[in-house]
């Protein structure tokens, strides 16, 4: 009988974060990069909830709500930026963004 312990959840969160980071590095499409940020934020949420269960406190779950709101705000502003970039250069690739280069 194998018992599912806290370590397993933390390992899953670490794997999820690594996949998100890898996608952030290898993809050029700004939309996909935003999805990878969502993956990383969700892995952090999983860590918070695991800690909440492990220590028997509710604060971990409250932190998840704050992360959720910050993620929603970030997605709204980020997607607006992507749309306005797309209007200008009709592509969402981040490699073409050179206007802020010194």
């Amino acid at each position: 009988m194998i018992e599912v312990s806290t370590d397993w959840y933390l390992t899953l969160a670490a794997i999820l974060f690594s996949i998100g980071f890898l996608g952030m590095m290898i993809r050029r499409n700004a939309l996909i990069m935003f999805m990878c940020i969502e993956l990383m934020l969700n892995s952090v949420n999983l860590t918070f909830i695991t800690a909440s269960k492990h220590f028997g406190t509710i604060e971990g779950q409250i932190s998840v709500f704050f992360v959720l709101v910050v993620a929603a705000a970030e997605v709204v502003v980020g997607l607006a930026i992507i749309v306005s970039i797309f209007k200008k250069q009709s592509s969402a690739s981040v490699d073409l963004l050179r206007t802020s280069r010194g």
Binding site: N42, I49, T50, S84
Partner: protein, 174 residues
């Protein structure tokens, strides 16, 4: 056995969805992979006794945020192929290799450090159900100031999104 199954199946789906997100070519497939990941995470949250957070995860993430993503995908077109020319030679391979070496190194150090995690951070015996009333009792008393500040953040984000996406040319009267 049921406990193991309830962890293993959603965990596998979480990783599968995450891999779809980073490797699929069509942006719609990417977003569907993200939905799979978020829904499976909600199942894991339920097994971790965070029922209210699981519901909010489904409503806000899998519902609202993914709808927003799909709106933008449809708006800017899904038929454009991604530009895959590498600015630095072999950057994809370089990044993946570095990442895996780093993860392997950290895991090796953590496993072999001999640090007794259970002694310093013992797990509690009782289990806390994350019901709405329990969360609200803490959120609206102890955490009420961050809660109010986060509402300002939401308003600022809404105003910023409108200001960024507002097209002055379209609004001109003919």
């Amino acid at each position: 056995m049921l406990e193991l199954l309830l962890f293993a199946v959603p965990a596998g789906l979480v990783i599968l969805g995450a891999l779809i997100v980073i490797f699929a070519k069509n942006p719609v497939h990417n977003s569907m992979g993200l939905v799979l990941t978020l829904a499976s995470l909600a199942i894991i949250y339920i097994t971790l006794n965070a029922t209210f957070v699981a519901m909010v995860q489904m409503l806000v993430y899998a519902g609202a945020v993914m709808t927003l993503f799909l709106f933008v995908i449809m708006m800017i077109g899904v038929d454009k192929p991604e530009q895959t020319r590498e600015e630095i030679k072999g950057q994809t391979l370089l990044v993946s290799g570095t990442l895996f070496i780093l993860i392997g190194l950290v895991s090796y150090v953590v496993v072999n450090s001999g640090f007794n995690w259970d002694l310093y951070f013992p797990a509690v015996e009782y289990s806390l159900e994350g019901t709405p009333d329990l969360i609200a009792a803490s959120l609206f008393t102890e955490w009420v100031l961050p809660f109010e500040i986060i509402s300002i953040l939401l308003i600022v984000a809404t105003a910023a999104a409108i200001a960024l996406a507002y097209d002055t040319k379209v609004r001109k009267p003919k």
